[in-house]
């Protein structure tokens, strides 16, 4: 057998590896948040398509649904959805910038103590997350205290 043939390493940690598999960094937890918020948003999108189809059942059915959405528990759900969307979008901007190679610094010789691209990128991460937090707080204030 050729010793240079690729060896497969199965994802043995599975879902547990999402949360902890050693010293995860801040960015790794953002990655977890991005996945969770993304799954929540796609679930909501599918539900939203089904729920807005209620219009085909007539005016009363539609108005009943809108009255339900105006109730306090749905306001809270709406806010959580808004927060998930803001977080996902802002972190997505960060990921896009990284994907396109922005804010990673120029490649340089690895001399100890190493300066990784993640660390060079981190100030931007903090700024983007602070902005996301601000938008989430402001959005909550307009939703709950109109």
């Amino acid at each position: 057998m050729n010793s240079n043939s690729p060896k497969s390493y199965p994802n043995r940690l599975g879902l547990k590896g999402w949360v902890y598999a050693g010293r995860y960094t801040f960015e790794r937890y953002l990655y977890l948040g991005h996945r969770l918020s993304g799954m929540g948003l796609i679930a909501y999108m599918v539900l939203h398509i089904i729920e807005t189809a209620n219009r085909m059942r007539g005016v009363e059915a539609w108005q009943g649904l809108m009255a339900l959405f105006a109730s306090p528990p749905f306001k809270v759900v709406e806010y959580l959805l808004f927060a998930a969307a803001v977080f996902h979008a802002m972190n997505g901007v960060r990921l896009l910038l990284t994907e396109l190679g922005f804010f990673l610094g120029k490649p340089k010789e690895p001399v100890y103590p190493y300066s990784s691209s993640v660390m060079r990128h981190r100030p931007l991460t903090y700024v983007i997350m602070a902005l996301a937090g601000l938008i989430i707080i402001l959005g909550g204030s307009s939703l709950f205290f109109p």
Partner: protein, 122 residues
């Protein structure tokens, strides 16, 4: 190469989602700011039907459906495909997600068409 194309499309639909979702928010959730009407009024049956009968709204929602479903379901596929799956199960996930996406897109398109072709008083 196929995966690169799918990933590139996943990124390319982001600006489409941002613009169209922003428009959707402006029309409904920010109706008091952009249209001078309350959110309740913007969500009323009559206003929703009136809005849905315009060609611009019809195009906006079909594009948003396609872009949002592609971005979301491709992301979900990536998450599921990362789990330890056999090649047969991974294939099943791919086919299942495509069929589910097509079904939801078809259903959403039908609802949008129903609204677009709604006859007021008819």
């Amino acid at each position: 190469m196929r995966e690169t194309r799918l990933w590139s499309l996943h990124l390319l639909v982001i600006p489409i989602i941002v613009v169209l979702l922003g428009t959707h928010f402006a029309i409904i959730h920010y109706a008091p700011v952009f249209y001078g009407m309350s959110v309740e009024e913007a969500r009323s049956f009559e206003v929703m039907i009136e809005r849905g009968r315009s060609i611009a709204q019809f195009v906006l929602y079909i594009l948003l459906l396609a872009a949002g479903l592609y971005h979301g379901l491709y992301g979900l596929r990536g998450i599921i495909r990362e789990l330890p799956l056999t090649p047969a199960l991974a294939k099943l996930v791919d086919v299942g997600i495509v069929l589910f996406g097509l079904f939801i897109f078809g259903f959403g398109t039908y609802v949008t068409w129903w609204t677009f072709s709604f006859k007021i008083g008819g």
